[in-house]
Each structure stands twice: as structure tokens, then as C-alpha cells.
């Protein structure tokens, strides 16, 4: 048999069939996190701290426990009982601290106790009877204030080895990288611009609140149904927090109503399991929207200083950035990612970047689509735009002049393989949007963006049925149409119709470990594994054909869904379709399956360029986005509609982040806008039709050339929109969100 490892002409890949889960989702048959129930099920509810920072002196739950409808109350003490593990460290400890407060409540909304009762109403009523005595402590919610010498210390000893001596204990991680000599570079510049920028925390804004159904027996065996981007990480984390063996907890991922990175960890799942273990009954826990805002991961807020030097011809001579990211009361703000991504689109001789991870009294930040990258791009690309304006240079030409390409040394260290940034910039320059005239009051903005993309642990199995159909079991929850993409890739290899393939997101008991659906990795890594699992099955199909024909397996090849003799010398046999082989596979050697597992390393970085037109009302400061074009390298678009959907979704979320979304804290450290009415995510009528251009520069690390597309699309919008608004308003906007009051104030100061 012969199989080409690389493929560039396709039958199925690149077509746009309906998604296999589409009918279930539009008819309501699909089961999401809150849709599962069990006999004897109890309802859980969580008591949350109203204080930003407080010592928990005493919790008295006796009145709640006395109610007949209440079957269990848990606090941190119910997690500390770890029979065979000596105690939790690192991220497990942080997650435990977050899902149930220990000695201190660290932010407004921090869980302090939980109840399981016979109804949701009874559970909520019981919470009111739990008496918590707090000793209120000074708090800090702003990143710059959290680093100041007089800031309250959130947790001593949270910093690791990377933090230089003398920093405030709230600075918990430090990153520095770059190359060349920035001072020498600045000396060569004709113009240097140095400026400071801030962005506020924003929430991923998934429409489905966190929800789960948990059942854990006293024998340490359990079942968990939950909405998650990764059920193996949920399994591993919950098992650690509950002190049970990982394999004894079977986790099933529900359909997911959006995650965007925010469902890559656990919040309520360990609490539901603890309640279930104590009550010895299944427990369902569903967050309301306010709990989602107050206690699940928003992204980090940021404060950044940028300095860039440029020659009159547009050559960047040196670039320097300091990025301070606030990620709540736990280590984890992606200051390192921000620093590494900020200058990554450019081939720079002299570059230096510093990132800080800073703790404050806010909820633990969670990943949000290219975590850390959009903020840095906002700051860097704003300064680039200002340099272009002041030097009278075209912003696309300047980016082309400095663009990284194959062989460029990346600002964060490695040397790029084949990448597609130049192609996106050339497509931007050629796009009619870029040359369309602007009306008075409108401005245009450009930005590039970069994201690493990720491989991750991946395991896929494929089984053929006797009728010639195929089932594919993947371990990555479908957050963006990935079942359609997997089916297309399997169809491509097997040569059977897309509709004859059913792709299932398998539970943790049915497949080996799979990393989370994050890092734009699913179409790349699960796709690669699906292709290789299908090829594995094809090898077996060829073996069966060889047996039937009585020729060596080397003399059989696979073509268009059939085994065929590999050449004239192999013999004269009619093509043998897949279904003819599977029809009697029980008699020719048994079931035919394919499997592949690996941690693929060739994810292939991805770049995009966005063009935005904005109109600013000079009397009210209100911004309308009038035109938007996303251009991004997909490597190879398996299902172009879902690639376009990712591009549009990144732009839509970026528009919200840039214009109106923000976590607003009062002086008391409480979140002021924990509902969608006041947390202003864009509504449909706020958005223009978002045009997309798919650039395809194949990724050498994937058999079909795929690069991840999910995250890069949210990297350029903040900057591109800020540049458009600044150019429309005639004043540089350095603070996000660019809400109308901020723009009107900036216009007055102009």
C-alpha cells in the first residue's frame, strides 16, 4: 500500500456541508450542561462573599443544616480531607482556593459554602441561613495600585523564582525576553514614540452558564456531566480536589454553549461532587449569570508602556514593551504571553519585552481566546499607527516592510518556519476595503496579530461498521464546528461520504487522555489524529483486500474509497469498495478500527490582518463600526464556513472589548455590572457585516496543512478599532474600552 503523507488536492476538505450537530441544536434536542437530571437528584447553591478581601472568622451553617429539605452543606473543610494525597500544590491548590475559599475570601463573589437541597428554591433559601463572620481587610482591584508599595498583600509566598527581588508580593511571575540592543536601535531612529495604554478585564461572555450534574459515592467512584472545553482536565482536577483516583471519576462533556477559554478549568464541578459525596445523592449545580460574571474567569486587565523607534522609511529600529497583567487573586495572568506575542509579527533587530503577572482582589482570570495577546497588540499597534501618521507612511506598507517571514527570528525566540503574515498584508492592500473612500467623521484602522497555536495530548479512535459507515471518537469538545471538520478529514482519507461518518465526543472512560479544546488546537491536533486513525483503518482495509485477493498487502492501495491493485503486476481485480470489505469483516479477521495518539508539535503559528472603519459622533462620543474585514492565514480551511465563523466571532468579541465591555468595580471592591444589561456585550445591530478573507499558506506540521484559526482572530481587533476610532476622532485613544464618555472627554481635551 502507498499513502502520501502530504495532500493538496481534496474531494471533501474545503466543502461546506451542514454541521452534524446542527439539527439537534436548532430543535432543542441537544443536551447542554443544565439539561441532564438523575433520579433522586438534589439541587446545589453556592454562598458567595460580598467582600473583596476578608478573613473568614467563622461559618455557622447549623440553621441551614436543620432544614429538612437540606441534605448537605459543604465548606472548605470538606475538601481538605484528602485520604491518600498529602495536600495540593501549584495550580490544583489555586483551583481549590478558587472553588471554595480557605482562610480568606479573596474577591467579591468568592465561594465560601454550598448547600444541596431537595429543590433549587430550598437550596437558595438555605443559603440565607448560613452565618459567616468576616473580618474585612483592605483590598485592591487595579493592576498598577496592586504593584504599589502600600498595596494590601493578597497572598504571601505566591511569587515564584522568576520575580526579581524587591517587587511587591502581589507580583507573582516575571518574564523578560528579546534580542539585539534596544538602546543602540533607538539611537538609529528618526522618530521614537513612547506611550502608555490600559485595557479592562472582559468576560468571555459565553451564553451558557456553567452547569453540571455530579454523583460521587462513598466508595470514591463517581460520574460527572458538565459543560466544559476539556473533560479530562475536569476529571484530573476534580479527582485531585476530592482526593479520589482519577480513573474512578467518569466525566462526560455536554454540548457547550460557548467557552472561548473560560471553560478550560473547573468552578462548580468539585463543589457539586463534594455535596454529592456528603449527601450520597446526585447533585445538580447551575450558575446564574451574576455568578458567572462574579466568580468565573474574565480575562486579565492590563497596563502597558511601549517605546518604538522608526526610520523615515518605516524601518523599525528598536521596540520595547512593559506589560503588567492583573489576573485576580491567584497567579496566572498571562503577562508572559502578552510580552511574547506583542512584537511577534515583526522582524526586529532589537527588541525587548517584559511581562508581569500581578494579583488583585478580583476573580481568578481564565483563558480568553489568545490569552494576553489582544492587549499587547492594542498597545504596540497603536504606537505603530501613530508612527505612521507622524511620518506620513502607509500603515500596511510599514507593516509589510517589517513583516516577519520564513527564517525571521521571532521576538520571543524561535525562528519562524513557513508563515503567512506577508500574504495577509498583501491581501489587505489589494482588498477593495482598503482603498474605499471614507466619509467625513470616519477613520480607518489596521492591525496585525499573532498567536502561537497549540498541539497538545490527543487521542482519536475510529471504528467501521459492517454497512460501511464510520464512527469517530474524539476527546475534544466541539466548540466551533469541529465534528464537521473531523468528518470531512475522515471522509477524505476513507473515501466515503461525509454523511456516513458520525463523530462523537467520547467520555473520559472511552478514550485516552485528551488535552482541552483550547489553543486553537482541535482542527489541527484532533484533525491530525483523525487523519492518522483513518489511515490506520485503511491499512487494515488493504490487508483484508489482500487476503481476499490472495496477493501481498504491499500490492494493494486505497483510492476513492476502494481497495485497488497497486499496479498492473499486482493482478487484475475490480476495485473493492469499503462497504464490501466491512460487510464480512467478522469472517476476514474481525472488527476494523483505527487509532492514533500523540502530542503533535507542529501546530504552526498564525497571523492575521484586520481593516476597520469607524465613525465617531463628535457630539456624543458614540462609535459605530461601519466596515470590518478580517484577513487571516488558515493554513488549509477544512470547512471554510466555520473558519469564517471563527474570524467573524473574533472580530465581534473584539468590537465589544474595544468599545463597551469592562469589569466595573466600586470603591468597595464589588463588581458593579454583573448582568448583561450593564456588561455591554455587542448586540447584533451593533455589528456590521464582517467580511472575511481566508489566506491559505499550508502548515508543514499537518498532513492537510491546517493551522488553528480560533484565537488569532481576536488579536488584531482592539488595536485596529482603536486606530480607526483615533483616526476618526483625531485624538489617540489609549484606554479601553473606548466608551462614549471616554471618547467625549478625549475630544474635549483635544
Amino acid at each position: 500500500m502507498a499513502l502520501d503523507d502530504r495532500k493538496s488536492i481534496f474531494s471533501f476538505v474545503g466543502t461546506r456541508p451542514d454541521r452534524p450537530d446542527g439539527l439537534d441544536k436548532v430543535t432543542g434536542r441537544a443536551k447542554f450542561g443544565a439539561d441532564m437530571s438523575a433520579p433522586g437528584m438534589l439541587h446545589g447553591a453556592i454562598l458567595r462573599s460580598p467582600h473583596a478581601h476578608a478573613r473568614i472568622v467563622k461559618i455557622d451553617a447549623s440553621k441551614a443544616e436543620a432544614l429538612k429539605d437540606v441534605k448537605a452543606v459543604v465548606t472548605r473543610a470538606d475538601f481538605a480531607d484528602v485520604p491518600f494525597k498529602p495536600g495540593l500544590e501549584g495550580e490544583f491548590y489555586n483551583v481549590l482556593e478558587n472553588v471554595m475559599a480557605g482562610e480568606k475570601a479573596l474577591y467579591d463573589g468568592h465561594a465560601v459554602a454550598a448547600v444541596a437541597a431537595t429543590s433549587a428554591l430550598a437550596a437558595r433559601d438555605a443559603l440565607k441561613l448560613i452565618e459567616v463572620e468576616y473580618e474585612i481587610l483592605p483590598h485592591v482591584t487595579d493592576v498598577d495600585k496592586a504593584m504599589a508599595p502600600d498595596a494590601p498583600v493578597i497572598r504571601k509566598g505566591a511569587a515564584d523564582y522568576s520575580v526579581p527581588a524587591g517587587m511587591h508580593p502581589n507580583v507573582v511571575r516575571y518574564h523578560e525576553s528579546g534580542h539585539g540592543d534596544v538602546e543602540a536601535g533607538f539611537a538609529e531612529a528618526d522618530l521614537i514614540i513612547e506611550d502608555s495604554f490600559t485595557t479592562e478585564a472582559t468576560h468571555q461572555g459565553y451564553i451558557e452558564p456553567h452547569a453540571c450534574l455530579a454523583s460521587l459515592g462513598m466508595d470514591g467512584k463517581g460520574e460527572l456531566w458538565c459543560t466544559t472545553q476539556g473533560h479530562w482536565i475536569a476529571q484530573k482536577t476534580c479527582a485531585a480536589l476530592l482526593g479520589i483516583e482519577t480513573s474512578q471519576l467518569r466525566v462526560t462533556a455536554s454540548e457547550i454553549g460557548g467557552g472561548f477559554g473560560g471553560k478550560t478549568t473547573v468552578f462548580i464541578e468539585p463543589v457539586a461532587l463534594a455535596l454529592s459525596r456528603k449527601a450520597n445523592r446526585p447533585v445538580k449545580l447551575v450558575m446564574n449569570r451574576s455568578e458567572v460574571f462574579r466568580a468565573t474567569g474574565p480575562t486579565a486587565s492590563a497596563s502597558m508602556d511601549i517605546k518604538i523607534g522608526m526610520k523615515k522609511d518605516g524601518t523599525i529600529t528598536a521596540a520595547e514593551g512593559i506589560f503588567r497583567l492583573q489576573g485576580g487573586a491567584f497567579p496566572g495572568a498571562p503577562g508572559d504571553m502578552t510580552a511574547m506575542c506583542a512584537f511577534a509579527p515583526y522582524d526586529l533587530t532589537n527588541v525587548r519585552q517584559v511581562g508581569y503577572d500581578v494579583m488583585a482582589n478580583r476573580p481568578k482570570q481564565a483563558a480568553y481566546r489568545a490569552p494576553g495577546a489582544p492587549m499587547g497588540a492594542f498597545a504596540v499597534e497603536s504606537v505603530l499607527d501613530e508612527l505612521c501618521n507622524q511620518l506620513g507612511l502607509d500603515p500596511v506598507d510599514v507593516r509589510l516592510k517589517n513583516a516577519a517571514a520564513e527564517g525571521s527570528k521571532a521576538s520571543y525566540g524561535p525562528t519562524y518556519e513557513r508563515i503567512g503574515l506577508v500574504e495577509t498584508l498583501e491581501a489587505a492592500k489589494a482588498h477593495p476595503h482598503y482603498s474605499a473612500p471614507l466619509k467625513p467623521g470616519q477613520g480607518r484602522g489596521i492591525s496585525c496579530g499573532f498567536w502561537f497555536n497549540h498541539g497538545g495530548e490527543t487521542s482519536v479512535s475510529l471504528a467501521l461498521s459492517e454497512d460501511g459507515s464510520a464512527q469517530v471518537m474524539v476527546g475534544t469538545p466541539d466548540i466551533g464546528g469541529s465534528r464537521a471538520s473531523m468528518a470531512l478529514m475522515a471522509a477524505e482519507v476513507l473515501g466515503i461520504p461525509y454523511e456516513n461518518i458520525r463523530v462523537t465526543v467520547a467520555d473520559t472512560a472511552s478514550l485516552g487522555y485528551n488535552d482541552v479544546s483550547h489553543g486553537s488546537r482541535v482542527t489541527y491536533a484532533s484533525g491530525l489524529a483523525t487523519i492518522k486513525a483513518a489511515r490506520h483503518a485503511v491499512e487494515k482495509l488493504c490487508e483484508r483486500a489482500a487476503v481476499k485477493w490472495g496477493i501481498p498487502v504491499e500490492a494493494v492501495k486505497w483510492e476513492n474509497g476502494c481497495a485497488v491493485p497497486s499496479g498492473p503486476n499486482a493482478g487484475d481485480f475490480d476495485p473493492l469498495p469499503l462497504a464490501d470489505i466491512t460487510a464480512d469483516m467478522g469472517a476476514t479477521g474481525g472488527p476494523i478500527s483505527g487509532h492514533f495518539e500523540a502530542t503533535p508539535e507542529g501546530a504552526g503559528v498564525s497571523f492575521g490582518t484586520h481593516i476597520v472603519d469607524a465613525e465617531v459622533d463628535p457630539e456624543t462620543g458614540k462609535t459605530s463600526i461601519t466596515r470590518y474585514t478580517v484577513i487571516q492565514d488558515a493554513g488549509k480551511a477544512i470547512h471554510p464556513t466555520y473558519v469564517e465563523g471563527q474570524y467573524q466571532g473574533g472580530a465581534a468579541q473584539g468590537i465589544g472589548w474595544a468599545l463597551n465591555e469592562e469589569y466595573i468595580y466600586g470603591d468597595d471592591g464589588r463588581l458593579q455590572n454583573s448582568i448583561f444589561l450593564d456588561y455591554r456585550i455587542p448586540v447584533a445591530s451593533d455589528l456590521p457585516m464582517i467580511d472575511t478573507v481566508i489566506v491559505e499558506v499550508p502548515n508543514p506540521g499537518h498532513p492537510f496543512g491546517v493551522r488553528g484559526v480560533g484565537e488569532t482572530g481576536i488579536v488584531p481587533p482592539l488595536a485596529a478599532i482603536a486606530n480607526a476610532v483615533s483616526n476618526a476622532a483625531g485624538v489617540r485613544m489609549k484606554q479601553l474600552p473606548m466608551s462614549p464618555p471616554r471618547i467625549l472627554a478625549a475630544l474635549k481635551e483635544k
Binding site: E619, L677, V683, P740
Partner: protein, 288 residues
């Protein structure tokens, strides 16, 4: 919690008068039920007034005035063939509230009695000169809409009183009204500033005007200085500037998550000008 669905306003009033604890009247429920679900207000007594005869009726009276039942929804107002021709400002203000689903439930009376200074329909009703029939233990009285709210979440209605009808004056000749609000988005949001303007022309000259502001003070304001600034003018630039200055001067807003004092004060003047232009054009019979 006790739930009642009385057959008359007299019965509703008596139920409310005799109830203990927290009482809420339930019409569309777009505030009451949301507050109940989010545990902001858990009433002890819920009096559903949707089942009283006539509460869903939109009636044009012989003198050209309108009587709206208290359970008439925003969607019913928007889809009414005549009401919006007479009072486009009142109808567009109501139509701005919430989503299509909310429009199927929300009512003018509920929007008023919720007591929010940012209620969209209230400035439009104030500008239009709407009155409310209020039924209480002592019978029914008629109250001007601007006299109902007394502060955020509070009204002048006393124990046992319930609004039993909404009375909109006759439109008359050469009149026009309009409502505009500022929100950072395009829909589904709470007014940061709202302006209602209602005027009547004598030729090109404004003979009468009422100007109201929402979301810039503890209650919706009827701004007589703003009306004076345009009465006797043809809404020329000087009149518009005087209108804007009077509107801004009347503002007494707060800084909050929805807007700053400076922003609200400034934008009140901007919106007053824009809204007055629309009302003026409508009074002239132009499409606006």
C-alpha cells in the same frame, strides 16, 4: 407568597390595602418577575391585574383623546394602526424598551411604576401630557404622569392605590412629539440620557412645547425652561442652543456605571436639540 387575580380595580385596591409585607401589582411582569427571580424583591402579595375587564383595550375617545388599559403591551401599541400616527414619540419610546419578547409583555404603567429615572416611556408620556387614573380606597383620581415618580424605585401612590388607566390627550392639529435616548449600544440597553419633546406649531412658529428629560436626575424632569427656549421660535440655531443650554442646566445626574455627570449633562443638551428637530418636523407633517 400570595397570588391574586382580581376582577376589578376596586377589588385590586382592597386586596392591596389589606395586604401585609411587600405588595406588587403584576401587569407584564418584566420588572416584577425579574426582580423576583434575581431575589432583589420577593413580594408577599402579588396582585395580577391582567384579568380585569378592559385592561388590554386601546380606545380612541370621541374628543380625540386616548385611553389605554394598564396591560396594553408595547407590541400592541407599536402595531396599533392609529395610535402611532397621533403620538409617534410615546409609541417609539415604549418600543425602545427591551427585546421583541419583552415588548410582548411590557406596559407603560409598569415602566412608570417601576420608578426608574431612566424609564424610556416616562419622558415621552411627560412631554405628551399624559395623565393616569388612580384607583384607591377613596375612589378614582386623575394624576399627571410627572407627579407619580418621587425618586428611584419610589412613587407617590399610597397604600391601596393602583393605576387603572392611561389617558393620552387629543393630538390636535399641527402637533408632533418625539423621544430619543442615548445608549452606548444600538438596542437592548438602559437610557444614559432620554429626552421627550412635544410641541404644537402656529405656522412655522412653536406655539406650545413640553420638554422632558430622563436619567439625569432622581426622577424624570419636566423642564419648563427648555420649553420656553423654543416657544415663539421656528427652532432656529439660536433657539436650539438655548434649548440645549436649558436642558443641560436642568440636569442633576449621578456618576455611575452607565455614564458620568459631565457626559450626561452634555449629551442631554445634544439630544434635546436632535429630539426637538424630529418633533418639529413631525408637527409640520414631514416624515421623521
Amino acid at each position: 407568597m400570595d397570588y391574586h387575580s382580581p376582577a376589578s380595580f376596586a377589588e385590586a385596591s382592597a386586596l392591596a390595602e389589606n395586604a401585609t409585607g411587600i405588595t406588587r401589582f403584576l401587569a407584564g411582569g418584566t420588572d416584577v418577575l425579574v426582580q423576583l427571580r434575581s431575589e432583589l424583591v420577593t413580594p408577599d402579595t402579588l396582585i395580577d391585574i391582567k384579568k380585569i375587564d378592559g385592561v388590554h383595550d386601546v380606545t380612541r375617545n370621541a374628543d380625540g383623546s386616548w385611553t389605554l388599559g394598564v396591560a396594553v403591551t408595547g407590541a400592541e401599541m407599536s402595531e396599533h394602526p392609529e395610535l402611532g400616527r397621533d403620538w409617534p414619540g410615546v409609541v417609539e419610546a415604549m418600543d425602545l424598551i427591551g427585546s421583541t419578547q419583552v415588548q410582548g409583555r411590557a406596559t407603560l404603567t409598569g415602566n412608570l411604576c417601576n420608578g426608574s429615572p431612566a424609564a424610556d416611556s416616562v419622558p415621552a408620556m411627560v412631554a405628551a401630557g399624559v395623565t393616569l387614573s388612580v384607583t384607591g380606597p377613596g375612589g378614582t383620581r386623575e394624576v399627571a404622569v410627572e407627579d407619580i415618580p418621587t425618586g428611584p424605585g419610589r412613587t407617590s401612590l399610597v397604600r391601596g392605590e393602583v393605576i387603572s388607566a392611561v389617558n393620552i390627550p387629543a393630538r390636535g392639529e399641527n402637533g408632533g412629539d418625539a423621544y430619543q435616548r442615548f445608549i452606548p449600544r444600538t438596542e437592548m440597553d438602559i437610557a444614559v440620557v432620554g429626552v421627550g419633546v412635544n410641541l404644537r406649531l402656529d405656522g412655522d412658529t412653536i406655539a406650545e412645547a413640553r420638554v422632558s428629560l430622563g436619567a439625569v436626575a432622581p426622577t424624570v424632569l419636566l423642564v419648563k425652561d427648555a420649553a420656553r427656549a423654543i416657544v415663539g421660535t421656528a427652532l432656529d440655531d439660536a433657539a436650539l442652543e438655548a434649548l440645549a443650554a436649558a436642558a443641560s442646566a436642568a440636569c442633576n445626574p449621578i456618576d455611575d456605571k452607565r455614564g458620568t455627570i459631565e457626559f450626561r449633562t452634555e449629551v442631554a443638551g445634544v439630544l434635546a436639540k436632535r429630539t426637538a428637530k424630529v418633533a418639529y418636523a413631525r408637527a409640520k407633517g414631514e416624515q421623521a
